[in-house]
């Protein structure tokens, strides 16, 4: 019999024949309707249908046959006997229609209790062998399975399961065979078609799982071995992967738990190309689900559960060992996900057992070594990244489950920390990776530690409101060892940038690295996110340790521990070479914290237990010791980055000095100051930085209180002023010197209880102040540039007025006469400045402009110490203390230096206006004097 040429026609034929069949049935013309059915079924012989189309046709035919079946059942045995019909339909000449008819009639017969059920079933399944074409055979057997679904004998489970398994086995064979049909170049198509058909095969296993229900004995003894044997024997990639997956999915997890050995053993015998890890992962998922369900059923069952008696991990471990032994061909790409899935399992089942993890990582380590670390490809590098930084989605689930009240699951942060501190192998694996990868992983880890910290602190606030009792979620560093491990993990980051450039070229992978190294060569202070992160890490470590203290209330014992930890950190970060300039400031800051803490304890003991000499001396020694460490750190920075960060070193020295001074440790303070001076003298060569450094030094010095003894202070300030007067540029000299004048005029620091007028022990020497001012005036006067000179004079005038206000004339030696003389001098100079310009009208105009617009800006921009800040509103330009023009960007507050004013129209106009800055500044000062007259009578004698 022929079949239609296209699927559309086929469907048309089927519909037509169905209609005819139904009509004949309604007229009880069974023979004719069977004839029509047979013709209709011929369409299923069509070899040109793709699996999808075939399925469409099949579905329609299935419906038609259901009609037929209904009729057959209703009219048995009045109009016909199904046993006769069963024979009758076997006269159909073609095997496919014949079998469909047989199954239809046979299953109809099965609905009657008097039918020889088993014989019919056996016969049908046996005869189905006649269809050996894969697609047609699969559908036929699927039809058999669909039809017999409800009709299998209920009393004989083993028969039913044998029946379904038999069907399954045959279907699987057909399915596998499909792969090998047709030309070789259509292999891909075949594979795709097979994937479309896989559900047909899988449905048999689903059926099996439905009928066996919870009959474990049967599952273990009959079903599973048979199925697995089939799976192994078919040696087909698609089939093995799919079927094992299905087996894992459809049968209950309890079964899997009990037959774990068998299942795992099976994977050893599979086609070498099968990705075992997928199967194992599915299995692990199922087992984890099991745990989850157990917990949901009974949250307290964790300890008492029977399933924990089983050594699930042990089983997996044995399996991995065997696998490693038997399948040395497995690549890392396959091996790593496999181990990863076992890790997932281990985490779910034994969340606190890090030994397991260590074992696993050791295995990875061994494996990696076997392959040779040089041979790690890009892909496996990615796998390592996922493995080592725990990006696996399954693990993510674990970490999110912290939100649940269940303390069973550890948070990711805790987990990683525990892992780092307990699994040596993890570190070793990490060490085997390429530098780029190591960096990525460590980055990832640090991110996790930090991120969850932030999250958690939010959580904790929230939580502590709800449960004031406890937040066990805090990550606590228990001892030095953990810190050590953590640091050793971070090592690649610490030393990451110090590698020689050749290294960079060879490790062709990491763009970041190249990028950063380029910056390195330029030795610029571009923000380095990695190093910044490390600095963050330092703070984080120290914070967690201090948190531990507050918790246990044993601060005096832990100061030493913290110190040790900090030293540990220091010793590991010193490996970073040039990177210390990023990280050491953080360490030094932490030293400062410790110093302060130590000081507090010291003070406390002094107050409460002054008799305990040993303790006191211990702490004072400790203090000194810590300062030494700091000094060491600063030296390290200085030594490791030649000249590139002398500025930083200077400032750190000065800060240390200030700190020491505040703690009344004058000698230490002096040492730091002298260090700073040494650096200034030996290493600071840039004149701009020199001025800045001097100003900074003067600031620090001016606030010191402990150095008055032993003339430390005196020598330091003299030295400072001397340096100031020896600066290269005259305006710098001038400014430095008049700023240094403050060093002889101590002012109140309210924090330590000083108050102007009450405290009388201020270090003040008006004579020297005047000397400084006079000296700077001389310098200002000697400057050739009139404009500059005027500007500086105005600044000096401002300084004079300051002293005039704050001290008696007798003390400061800044007399009215002196001020008036200065004003006169400025006026004269300004006149000559005006003479340079022809159009006086412009001057006045612009002066007026400046006058009007100036006020608001002065308030906004003028700084107390830095003196001459000038603004020009239209262009928002200010003159810096070193004489450069600074263009202010009012929007975001940042400023850019204008190195040279471009000769554009607007540029020249700007330049022109800037010329009158001194005039404006003088005007401003004069205004100030005039306004002061109202509150201070002394100003009335100053002539403006």
């Amino acid at each position: 019999m022929a079949y239609a040429d296209s699927p559309e026609n086929a469907i048309a034929v089927i519909k037509q024949r169905t209609a005819l069949m139904n009509r004949c049935l309604s007229q009880h013309k069974l023979m004719e309707s069977l004839q029509h059915t047979s013709i209709m079924l011929t369409e299923l012989r069509n070899p040109n249908l793709s699996p999808k189309k075939y399925y469409e046709v099949y579905v329609i035919i299935f419906d038609s046959l259901t009609n037929l079946s209904t009729y057959l059942i209703e009219n048995h045995p009045q109009n016909h006997h199904l046993a006769d019909l069963y024979e009758l339909v076997q006269y159909t000449g073609n095997v496919v229609p014949r079998l469909y008819l047989m199954i239809t009639v046979g299953t109809s017969y099965l609905t009657f209790s008097d039918a020889p059920k088993k014989e019919i079933l056996k016969d049908m399944i046996e005869m189905c062998r006649g269809v050996q074409n894969p697609i047609r055979g699969l559908f036929l057997r699927y039809y058999l399975s669909q039809r017999t679904k409800e009709l299998l004998p209920e009393d004989d489970l083993s028969f039913d399961s044998q029946f379904i398994m038999n069907n399954f086995i045959e279907m699987n064979k057909l399915w596998v065979r499909l792969q090998h049909q047709g030309p070789l170049r259509e292999r891909e198509t075949r594979t795709r078609e097979r994937k479309e058909l896989q559900i047909l095969v899988g449905s048999q296993l689903v059926r099996l799982s439905q009928i066996i229900d919870d009959n474990f004995q049967m599952y273990k003894q009959d079903i599973l071995p048979t199925i697995l044997e089939q799976v192994i024997q078919c040696r087909d990639l698609v089939s093995q992967e799919y079927l094992l997956d299905i087996i894992c999915q459809v049968f209950t997890d309890e079964f899997h738990l009990k037959t774990l050995d068998t299942l795992l053993q099976t994977t050893l015998h599979l086609n070498p190309d099968v990705s075992i890890n997928k199967i194992v992962l599915t299995l692990v998922d199922r087992l984890n689900d099991f745990v989850t369900r157990q917990l949901e059923d009974d949250p307290n069952a964790v300890s008492s559960n029977a399933y924990l008696d089983m050594d699930v991990f042990g089983t997996f471990w044995d399996y991995l060992t065997v696998l490693n032994h038997e399948r040395p061909d497995l690549s890392l790409q396959q091996y790593i996900p496999l181990i990863e899935s076992v890790i997932v399992l281990s985490l779910r089942w034994y969340p606190n057992n890090f030994e397991n993890l260590n074992k696993l990582f050791e295995l990875v380590l061994q494996k990696t070594k076997d392959y040779g670390q040089k041979n790690i490809s890009l892909e496996s590098e990615h796998l390592f990244l996922v493995l080592l930084s725990f990006q696996n989605s399954k693990l993510q689930l674990t970490s999110t489950s912290t939100a649940s009240p269940n303390s069973f699951a550890t948070s990711k942060k805790h987990f990683i920390f525990q892992l780092i501190s307990q699994c040596q192998a993890y570190k070793n694996i990490l060490a085997l990776q390429s530098i780029g990868l190591q960096k990525k992983v460590v980055n990832e880890i640090i991110d996790i530690l930090m991120d969850t910290e932030a999250e958690e602190s939010n959580d904790n606030e929230y939580e502590s409101k709800l449960h004031p009792s406890g937040n066990s979620a805090h990550l606590v560093i228990e001892d030095k060892l953990q810190v050590q491990r953590l640091l050793s993990i971070c090592e690649p980051l610490i030393i990451s940038r110090s590698g020689p450039p050749t290294n960079v070229a060879s490790s062709n992978t990491n763009i970041d690295e190249v990028f950063f190294n380029r910056h390195d060569e330029e030795e610029s202070w571009i923000l380095d996110p990695i190093q910044e992160k490390l600095a963050h890490l330092i703070h984080w470590i120290m914070n967690t340790t201090s948190r531990k203290q507050t918790k246990k209330n044993k601060s005096q014992f832990n100061l030493e521990t913290q110190l040790e930890i900090l030293l540990l950190i220091k010793s590991s970060f010193i490996k970073g070479g040039i990177n210390v300039k990023y990280t050491f400031p953080a360490i030094i800051t932490n030293f400062w914290k410790l110093i302060r803490k130590c000081h507090m304890i010291h003070q406390y003991i002094l107050k409460e237990r002054a008799d305990n000499r040993t303790l006191l001396s211990h702490y004072s020694n400790l203090l000194k010791q810590m300062f030494k460490f700091v000094s060491r750190c600063i030296n390290d920075i200085f030594n490791s980055c030649n000249n590139s960060c002398t500025d930083l070193v200077l400032k750190l020295n000065l800060q240390c000095a200030t700190l020491a001074d505040q703690l009344q440790l004058n000698e230490i303070s002096y040492d730091f100051f002298s260090q700073a001076f040494t650096i200034f003298e030996e290493s600071l060569s840039d004149s701009k930085t020199q001025l800045q450094a001097l100003i900074y030094m003067a600031q620090s010095l001016q606030k010191t209180r402990s150095l008055y003894k032993e003339t430390y202070y005196d020598s330091l300030i003299v030295r400072c002023t001397l340096h100031g007067s020896k600066l290269l540029k005259k305006q710098d000299q001038c400014r430095a010197v008049y700023l240094c004048s403050h060093l002889w005029w101590a002012t109140e620091i309210s924090n330590i209880g000083e108050e102007e007028g009450i405290t009388d022990s201020f270090f003040r020497d008006g004579k020297r102040v005047l000397e400084c001012l006079q000296r700077s005036l001389r310098v200002a006067d000697s400057i050739m540039d009139n404009e500059q000179s005027c500007e500086l004079m105005v600044e000096i005038l401002n300084r004079c007025l300051y002293y005039f206000i704050h001290g008696d004339e007798a003390e400061t030696h800044i007399s009215i006469k002196y001020i008036n003389g200065l004003i006169e001098l400025i006026k004269t100079n300004l006149k000559s400045l005006k003479l340079e310009d022809n159009s006086t009208s412009t001057v006045t105009n612009s002066m007026n402009d400046l006058h009007i617009t100036g006020d608001t800006n002065v308030k906004a921009n003028a700084t107390a110490n830095d003196g001459p800040g000038n603004t020009e509103k239209d262009a928002n330009v200010a003159i810096g203390s070193d004489g450069v023009y600074i263009q202010l960007n009012t929007l975001n507050g940042s400023s850019t230096l204008i190195h040279g004013i471009i000769a554009t129209a607007s540029g020249s106009k700007l330049l022109h206006q800037l010329k009158y800055t001194p005039i404006y500044h003088f005007q401003r000062t004069c205004d100030y004097i005039e306004s002061q007259r109202e509150v201070d009578d002394r100003f009335k004698v100053i002539y403006v």
Binding site: Q90, G93, V95, D123, E126, M127, R129, Q132, R136, Q181
Partner: protein, 379 residues
Amino acid sequence: MSIFFKPPIDIEILFDNEESRKHVDIAPRSSNSSYKSMKESLPVYEDGESLGGIVTMRVRDGKKVDHLGIKVSIIGSIDMIKSHGSSNSTSKKATSITSSSSSNGSVDIRKNSVDQFLCQSYDLCPAGELQHSQSFPFLFRDLSKRYESYKGRNVDVAYFVKVTVMRKSTDISKIKRFWVYLYNSVAAAPNTPSTHESQSNSEGVTADNDAADTANDDKPKNGAQGGAANGTQVLPVSHSSSDSKPVRLDIGIENCLHIEFEYAKSQYSLKEVIVGRIYFLLTRLRIKHMELSLITRESSGLQTSNVMTDSTAIRYEIMDGSSVKGETIPIRLFLSGYDLTPNMSCNYFNVKNYLSLVIIDEDGRRYFKQSEITLYRTR
């Protein structure tokens, strides 16, 4: 001739209980256009059965008819298409005239009788005058029938009753055909008929045949039971294996195909089921499908000029698609639904049945293997 002269007597032959007898429909096997495809229904008799009936003579228009005697005869003959000169045609001519009056298409005029293996006759009434319609009962007691009725392409085995009114002028005769089934169940080995053949045309043949029947007595019963069981039971019970040895064959094409097939037995009753299996040892062929067909081979004529004709009685697909090594394909073919011819043999012709396994590959090539089976009729 009959057109010009209507025979003065109508002869009607009626068998006893003819209506209630089992009938068989005979389709004309030759595709001769003049006979259309009319089916003829004939009563069935078996070997040793008496055949009786009534002959009714009706005189036309009340005329008296003189006759030299009325004779009834029963004849069994083998008719063959004459492909080569066979001399005894004179007697045939007479029958051909009479047969035309029977107006039935059952007898192929192209076929000529080559052997009358059965011819019994006796007078119904002596010479005299038929004045009015008259009936004569007749009876052939315990008639032995050597061959089964057969209607083949080249050969027929025909049985009929012939009533002849002998006259001075042309005899008036009438024949009535009937069909014969021989339920001898176990067909004798192919050689045995030929041994009978040597003694053919002798009276002793029938006795001989009877003896053969009795000798194989237990076997036909067994076979009949098996057949009956198969008829009613849905599933064939394969206990009837004692009947004959299974047919096992191991065939193949070197490095291409190697199969082993097996039929449960080599002898089947017509009601039985052929059960078997095919085991694939090697397949490199891309098989499209596989069929089992039953071929009836009729060979006729004398040894020197044998004419063989094959006709496929059953064509039955047993496998769809290509099998692989290790697969077993079941065979089950119900025979009862088909009109089959049991094996027959005599010195003029024989009928043999073959099971042919045909493999058709995707390029349309056919590979087949035939193996002879014996079919026999059971009750």
